[in-house]
């Protein structure tokens, strides 16, 4: 029932490594995967295991959500937060958080992470991108050369 649904006060998120996070409902609004389960329940408290997200990553995601859900923070403060948030991350962190964002179905955080990763590979060579994503090519050197020739207009 609608009245009872709105009575949920605390949501407990349990990460893959067992670490527990208690958050307010507005924090998980952005996590559509979590939200869709909450919406089906009438309880005051819910506990949700997230077997695909590690505690460290979940902590960072919650930090991001808290900042962005706050109505008191100015747009400028949020942008500054985003800037610092990305700055302290390594490439692996970004890729892991991107995967977590995809699993939690967090649209704006997914965009944010995708953009941060794009910034790392932007203007880099094909070889750099291949290393960055650790992609094993299944093309023979001849096949690759053929593709480059076919699409030479993009390699000039």
């Amino acid at each position: 029932m609608a009245a009872e649904k709105s009575s949920i006060k605390i949501i407990t998120l349990i990460a893959a490594d067992g670490s527990v996070f208690e958050v307010e409902p507005n924090i998980v609004k952005e996590m559509k995967t979590v939200q869709s389960y909450i919406d089906e329940l009438d309880q005051n408290t819910v506990s949700i295991p997230l077997p695909n997200v590690f505690g460290n990553d979940l902590a960072m995601i919650i930090e991001y959500c808290k900042k962005h859900a706050s109505e008191e923070e100015t747009k400028e403060a949020k942008e500054e937060f985003d800037f610092e948030f990305v700055k302290r991350m390594k490439s692996d962190d970004k890729l892991r958080l991107l995967q977590a964002a995809s699993y939690l179905n967090m649209e704006s955080f997914l965009q944010f992470m995708a953009k941060a990763i794009a910034a790392e590979i932007e203007n880099q060579s094909v070889e750099f991108v291949r290393d960055y994503f650790q992609i094993e090519s299944d093309f023979t050197p001849e096949e690759e050369a053929e593709l480059r020739k076919e699409n030479e207009w993009a390699f000039k």
Binding site: P51, L98, E122
Partner: protein, 406 residues
């Protein structure tokens, strides 16, 4: 039912996300194509096409990217740029709608593909469109101005020989929430006013860069929905601005405040950011800034630069003025920055005009040469002047070198 915590299992995705970095597989092998396409959406199209050689999975992936970004600056020759644009439009998967198009061509030569690419974007339900090019608005198909899917439009048409582009009169963009314009001239009606934005019923953000009003008349920004307004002006563009924007929350101005500003309805305005300069070597700039402040009755936060305060201080007997505004100010932020040489000359000249003796004038010249003018980054008393009606406001001096002002 008990109130105890309820356990719900969210089924894991078919394959578990790999958390072990030792496994030396593709880092992206677990990500669906749509996520990779998200990443590629932020990459310029030229580079995105190059990913076709990464592996067979990537071979045709670029054809599905919902965003196209074409910058001519990435090409040695314009011919190559034009060729890439043509190839991409022909080879891209035409069943995929185009979410965004970002097109920048920095050259005064005609871009033969412009009409084709804009038509492609419109026919693929484009929502976000950025166009920068030199020349004539006639290069854009008029259907753009009645595109019903468009939510974001940034249009910078760099004019030939300094002539501004007349802003189109009939516009029908019902979904538009964000509009950014550069180098346009607004035409006035019989009442000497231009009111180009009242037709956009969903407009939330408006940005106007280096635009003018024909005959230096009045630009009336009238919108019931507008929340953010940004203006840039680095030239001698004199005109009047009238704000009839009951829901305007944030106003950001960067450049030379050489316009008169009237707030006929700005009751919701909360945040104002002013990064003012005078045009370099302008020895007697117009002093409208003080009148702007008088329009900002209820704002909560004011962000200015040190230069802005210097511009303000040029106003004669500034500190004696009683402000009817700034009564509810909670925060004043001053971004510290170096004062440009051109503006230091303006400040010196202003001071020389006030010098009472030859001796004092000589002293001012000497101090200027030694780099001691202005003697302080923030003019004496100007911060107290701004806070005269809200003594409890928090004052913050921010080192600007860390992060540019937005």
């Amino acid at each position: 039912m008990s109130n105890s915590a309820y356990e719900i299992m969210i089924p894991p995705p078919a394959k578990k996300v790999k958390l072990n970095e030792i496994e030396n597989e593709d880092r992206l092998s677990d990500l669906p194509d749509c996520i990779i396409l998200h990443i590629l959406s932020f990459i310029k199209t030229k580079q995105a096409v190059q990913t076709c050689v990464l592996s067979s999975r990537w071979k045709d992936l670029w054809k599905l990217i919902p965003v196209l970004i074409f910058y001519s600056s990435d090409f040695g020759a314009y011919k190559k740029f034009t060729r890439l644009v043509s190839k991409v439009l022909s080879l891209r998967d035409s069943s995929i709608s185009l979410h965004a198009l970002d097109f920048k061509r920095s050259n005064d030569r005609f871009e033969p593909n412009l009409k084709r690419i804009v038509n492609y974007a419109i026919s693929h339900n484009v929502q976000r469109l950025r166009l920068y090019f030199n020349g004539d608005i006639a290069q854009i198909p008029p259907t753009l101005f009645s595109c019903h899917t468009l939510t974001y439009l940034k249009l910078f048409i760099y004019p030939d020989q300094g002539h501004k582009t007349p802003f189109p009169k009939s516009l029908d963009l019902p979904a538009l929430t964000c509009l950014k314009l550069g180098h346009f001239e607004f035409c006035v009606g019989d009442d000497d006013r231009a009111e180009p934005f009242s037709k956009f019923n969903r407009l939330n953000s408006l940005s106007i860069s280096s635009c003018t009003v024909r005959g230096g008349k009045t630009l009336c920004i009238s919108s019931a929905t507008l929340v953010n307004l940004t203006m840039y002006n680095y030239r001698y563009n004199f005109y009047k601005i009238e704000l009839c924007t009951p829901n305007l929350c944030t106003f950001v101005f960067t450049g030379a405040p050489y316009q008169r500003l009237f707030g006929s309805n700005v009751s919701s305005l909360k945040h104002v950011v002013i990064d003012a300069v005078v045009i370099p070597y302008d020895s007697e700039p117009p002093l409208f800034l003080i009148s702007w402040l008088q329009e900002f009755a209820n704002i909560k936060s004011l962000t200015v630069t040190a230069t802005t305060l210097q511009v303000l201080s040029l106003f004669p007997d500034l500190l004696k003025i009683k402000l009817p505004s700034l009564n509810n100010l909670k925060s004043l932020k001053v971004k510290m920055e170096e004062i440009s040489y051109g503006f230091r000359l303006t400040l010196r000249d202003a001071k020389l005009r006030k010098a009472k003796s030859q001796k004092e004038a000589a002293w001012i010249r000497k101090a200027f040469k030694a780099g001691l003018e202005p003697s302080s980054l923030i003019p004496d008393g100007v911060v107290d002047f701004l806070l005269q009606n809200s003594r409890s406001a928090e004052v913050d001096f921010v080192d600007r070198s860390k992060k540019p002002l937005e």
